[in-house]
C-alpha cells in the first residue's frame, strides 16, 4: 500500500494523474492537544484493547 500511495502522490505533484485518487484530499483529522507523540496514552489504549479482546473471546 505504501508504494501505491507514494506513486499516487508523485502523479499528483507531477500533474500527471488521469483521474482523481479517492484517498487524495480526504479530511485528515487530528485531536485537540495532540502533537505527534502518543507515548503517554498508548499504554491506556493497550490495556483497553486487551480487555476488549478478552471480553470478545469469552462472549464466543
Amino acid at each position: 500500500m505504501a508504494s501505491w500511495i507514494g506513486h499516487q502522490a508523485a502523479l499528483k505533484i507531477a500533474g500527471a494523474a488521469n483521474e482523481r485518487f479517492a484517498l487524495d484530499g480526504l479530511p485528515f483529522p487530528t485531536r485537540p492537544l495532540y502533537r505527534g507523540n502518543p507515548a503517554w496514552f498508548l499504554p491506556i489504549v493497550g490495556r483497553w484493547y486487551r480487555f476488549r479482546d478478552a471480553l470478545d473471546r469469552r462472549a464466543a
Partner: protein
C-alpha cells in the same frame, strides 16, 4: 511507509533477564532477520544538488516509489532520509502484501457514506495489481509470492464480522475470498487457536528488505538521487517553491513530498505529525527449524494475521525454515529483547510445538495509525492555489507493515 525521524534504535543490552534464559539462540541479534540478506546500505555522503524539482523526505516504500514515478515522468527527484534508505519499517515489517484488505475490513461506510466508501475501497484494492506489476516490471528480486492470507477469527463475533465483508474483499481485490469454518481451518493453519477465519487470495508475501533495496535501485536507475543520512530540519516556502534546511546544507525544491509516516514526530512538518500516531510493532524470528514442521504449521505457506485488537501476524520465512512472529508486544517503548519472551509466549499459545524453538532475531519499528484508519495523500493544510504543492503521504498502519507492517 516511511523512514526516519525521532526513532531510537534498540541497542543490544548487555544483560538479559532470566525470562529470556534458554529462549535466545547463540548469536542472537536485536536487529531484523531481514537484514541478514539485505541490510539497508550506507551511501557515501556527497554534496546535495542546489536545486531539484521535487524533494522527497523519507526513503521508505512511499518515498522511493514516488521518486521512481517522478523520475520516470522526467522530474528531478531527490530522496532524503535521516537514517539509511529503507532503514525504518520498510526493512522491518512482516513482508505481507495486503492488497487493501485492512482498509476493506474497516468501518468505511459508517465514516464516509456508501458512495465514497466504495471509491476508497477500490482505490486501496488497486494497490495489489500495482505492486505485482511494479515488482515484475522492475525485476525486483524480493521472494515475492501470491501466497494468500488467512485471517484467523479470535472470537465467534469476529467471524461474523469477517463474513459481512468477505464479498467486498473479493470484489475489491478482484481475487477470490472465502470464509473458512473452524472445522476446515487446519487446511490453512496448523492450529486450532482460532474460531475459523477468512482466506483472501489477492494477497502475498515478500522479503521486505530485499523489496526496499530493489525499489531504491529502481529509483536510482530511473534517475532519482538518494541521499542518506540527511536529516531535514525544515522546509520553508520561498518564491514559487521551498527552501529545505538539512544536515547536509540547503536545497531548493519546486515541491516537497513528506513520506515519513511512523517517523514524522520531530520532523519538518508538525502539521503531519499531529495527524499520525506512531506505534511500535515487534517481530521475532526463530532459529532454523525442521522444514517439515514449518510446512505443517503453515500449509500452503500462507501469510497469517488475526482479528484481535492487539494484532498478531505471522508467516514462514521465505526459505520455509523459520517462523516469523509479529505483534504488539507492548504499547510503551520497550527493547526488542524485552519484547522477545512476550512474543514467544503468544507464538506458543497458537503453536504449542514451537515451545522449544529458540530465537535468533527480535526487532522493532514504527507503524503509524491515522485517526480515521485510512491512508492519506494530500496537500498540507488542505487546499492551496500555490502551483508548488507540498504533498503529504502517509499510510494506515504498516501493514505489511511492520504490521506489516
Amino acid at each position: 511507509m516511511g523512514a526516519s525521524t525521532g526513532f531510537a534504535a534498540n541497542a543490544p543490552s548487555g544483560k538479559l533477564g532470566c525470562m529470556t534464559d534458554g529462549l535466545l539462540a547463540p548469536g542472537f541479534r536485536a536487529q531484523p532477520y531481514w537484514w541478514e540478506a539485505a541490510e539497508p546500505a550506507s551511501r557515501a555522503p556527497h554534496a546535495l544538488p542546489a536545486r531539484v524539482s521535487v524533494a522527497v523526505v523519507g526513503g521508505g516504500y512511499a518515498g522511493l516509489s514516488a521518486a521512481l514515478t517522478l523520475a520516470r515522468l522526467g522530474h528531478q527527484a531527490l530522496v532524503l532520509d535521516a537514517e539509511r534508505i529503507g532503514w525504518g519499517a520498510s526493512s522491518r515489517n512482516g513482508g505481507m502484501v495486503s492488497g487493501g484488505l485492512k482498509v476493506a475490513r474497516g468501518p468505511l461506510e459508517r465514516t464516509l457514506g456508501p458512495a465514497r466508501a466504495a471509491e476508497v475501497a477500490r482505490a486501496c484494492g488497486a494497490s495489489f495489481p500495482f505492486i505485482e506489476e511494479l515488482i515484475a516490471r522492475e525485476e525486483i528480486d524480493c521472494d515475492y509470492r501470491r501466497s494468500g492470507r488467512f485471517v484467523g477469527a479470535w472470537a465467534a463475533g469476529h467471524y461474523a464480522k469477517l463474513e459481512q465483508n468477505v464479498a467486498r474483499i473479493a470484489e475489491i481485490s478482484g481475487q477470490p475470498a472465502r470464509m473458512v469454518p473452524e472445522a476446515a481451518q487446519r487446511a490453512f493453519l496448523g492450529s486450532d487457536h482460532y474460531r475459523g477465519g477468512m482466506f483472501a487470495e489477492g494477497t502475498g508475501g515478500l522479503h521486505p528488505a530485499k523489496y526496499a533495496r530493489g525499489l531504491a535501485a529502481a529509483a536510482e536507475r530511473a534517475g532519482a538521487t538518494l541521499a542518506s543520512p540527511v536529516r531535514v530540519a525544515g522546509a520553508a516556502p520561498e518564491g514559487a517553491g521551498f527552501r529545505l534546511h538539512t544536515s547536509a546544507g540547503e536545497v531548493r525544491a519546486d515541491a516537497v513530498l513528506l513520506a515519513t509516516n511512523g517517523y514524522s514526530h520531530g520532523g519538518p512538518s508538525p502539521w503531519l505529525a499531529r495527524r499520525l500516531l506512531p506505534v511500535g510493532s515487534y517481530i521475532i524470528a526463530t532459529e532454523e527449524l525442521d522444514p517439515g514442521l514449518v510446512a505443517r504449521l503453515f500449509p500452503g505457506g500462507r501469510m497469517i494475521s488475526d482479528t484481535k485488537r492487539v494484532l498478531n501476524y505471522f508467516r514462514p520465512s521465505p526459505d520455509g525454515r523459520r517462523v516469523l512472529w509479529g505483534g504488539r508486544a507492548s504499547f510503551g517503548p520497550i527493547t526488542a529483547e524485552a519484547a522477545a519472551p512476550r512474543l514467544h509466549a503468544m507464538m506458543v499459545d497458537v503453536f504449542p510445538e514451537l515451545a522449544p524453538a529458540r530465537l535468533t532475531h527480535a526487532w522493532t519499528g514504527n507503524v503509524a495509525f491515522t485517526f480515521d484508519y485510512l491512508p492519506h495523500i494530500g496537500v498540507e493544510g488542505g487546499r492551496t492555489t500555490r502551483p508548488a504543492a507540498r504533498a503529504a503521504a502517509s499510510r494506515w498502519r504498516a501493514g505489511s507493515g511492520i504490521r506489516r507492517p
